[in-house]
Symmetry: C2
Subunit: 205 residues, 2 copies
């Protein structure tokens, strides 16, 4: 036998940039599942396979990490919107944007992390950042040429999707006829995609 321990982690050293990216991805997932206050820096550290002090040292504080997480999530959101904006001109722009927004479910925890940020308006540091982030989303839609009514409708649909994801509604999809009805109404064309991408199983945190 080559080693006593069955999995002798080789522990590759990474650049701090690579580690930051790893931790940000893990943090979006964990913050999304447990919220800002409910997530510990150790939760994130274990999800990213580093030590807890290292998370704090790389980002300065848990609060700063959350601010960086918001920036990262918004960056991914605007990137998706950019893809939609330059998509098939035959389809209505709102439909393309909705499709890309649902595709962002591949980024585990993104919608929930944004929802958590949007609920922290009373927080002295996070609140102003969250408000500005939401206002930037609004401005993006308007600059794209959407009229106010269409932009408002698009945001409302997005917030409903966020709610259903945050509720983990997909967990009970085929066990509760009310939820089946609800999903059919909310996702007439993309239901299969949502059910496939929605976080379902309990996280190991």
């Amino acid at each position: 036998m080559s080693s006593v321990t069955p999995t002798d982690a080789p522990k590759p050293r990474l650049s701090s940039e690579e580690r930051r990216a790893q931790i940000l991805e893990a943090a979006i997932a964990v913050f999304g599942a447990k919220g800002y206050v409910g997530t510990t820096t150790d939760d994130i550290a274990r999800a990213a396979s580093v030590s807890q002090p290292y998370v704090v040292r790389l980002f300065g504080s848990k609060e700063q990490l959350f601010l960086d997480v918001i920036d990262e999530a918004l960056g991914l959101l605007f990137a998706a919107f950019d893809r939609a904006a330059s998509g098939d001109p035959e389809l209505p722009v709102a439909q393309r944007m909705g499709h890309e927004y649902i595709g962002l479910l591949e980024v585990r925890g993104l919608h929930q992390t944004l929802s958590h940020a949007f609920l922290l308006g009373a927080h002295p540091v996070i609140g102003p950042r969250a408000r500005d982030g939401f206002a930037r989303v609004w401005q993006y839609l308007r600059d794209l040429g959407m009229d106010a009514e269409r932009a408002q409708e698009f945001l409302a649909q997005g917030m409903l999707l966020n709610t259903l994801i945050g509720l983990r509604m997909a967990d009970d999809y085929d066990q509760d006829p009310r939820i089946t009805d609800l999903f059919t109404a909310c996702f007439p064309t993309e239901k299969a995609t949502v059910l496939r991408l929605a976080p379902r199983v309990a996280e190991p945190w």
Copy 2:
């Protein structure tokens, strides 16, 4: 002088039922502002002018208190929906329900508390209750005779209102032209009501 201390609180004794109601009201406000994990039982105790151990004893645990808070909030929500259902038959039902839902802003923290609950889907105890609560709202709308598309649209608008309230967007209403535009689009008829009732000033918690 009648007393050395300027405000000698008479400290009236109340029945446990009255105290429970007081604490539930305070808890909706504080949970709404700071979330489930971010709120301490002492926050709620001080907001209700009782001691922290008494809050725990009356409700058993913080988790049980939050479950009772969800029940209370949903009870107020369904009561408002009932009022709307038996309102002026000349107006469309969705409009009456929306009006009542905005009127619930008088209950400080209600929308935000429900939003927080709806984001705790991954919580082993709160998650199932939150899912059931949302499904009951859906069923209520459907039983009222709303078709699936209308019910979905109503929920989406409600979730957007919740988000704007949670963000404390009204704080920046007249300081940010993007937010002015956003509010005008979201509340074509009820903007003044929302701005008047939305929680604005920083809570003393």
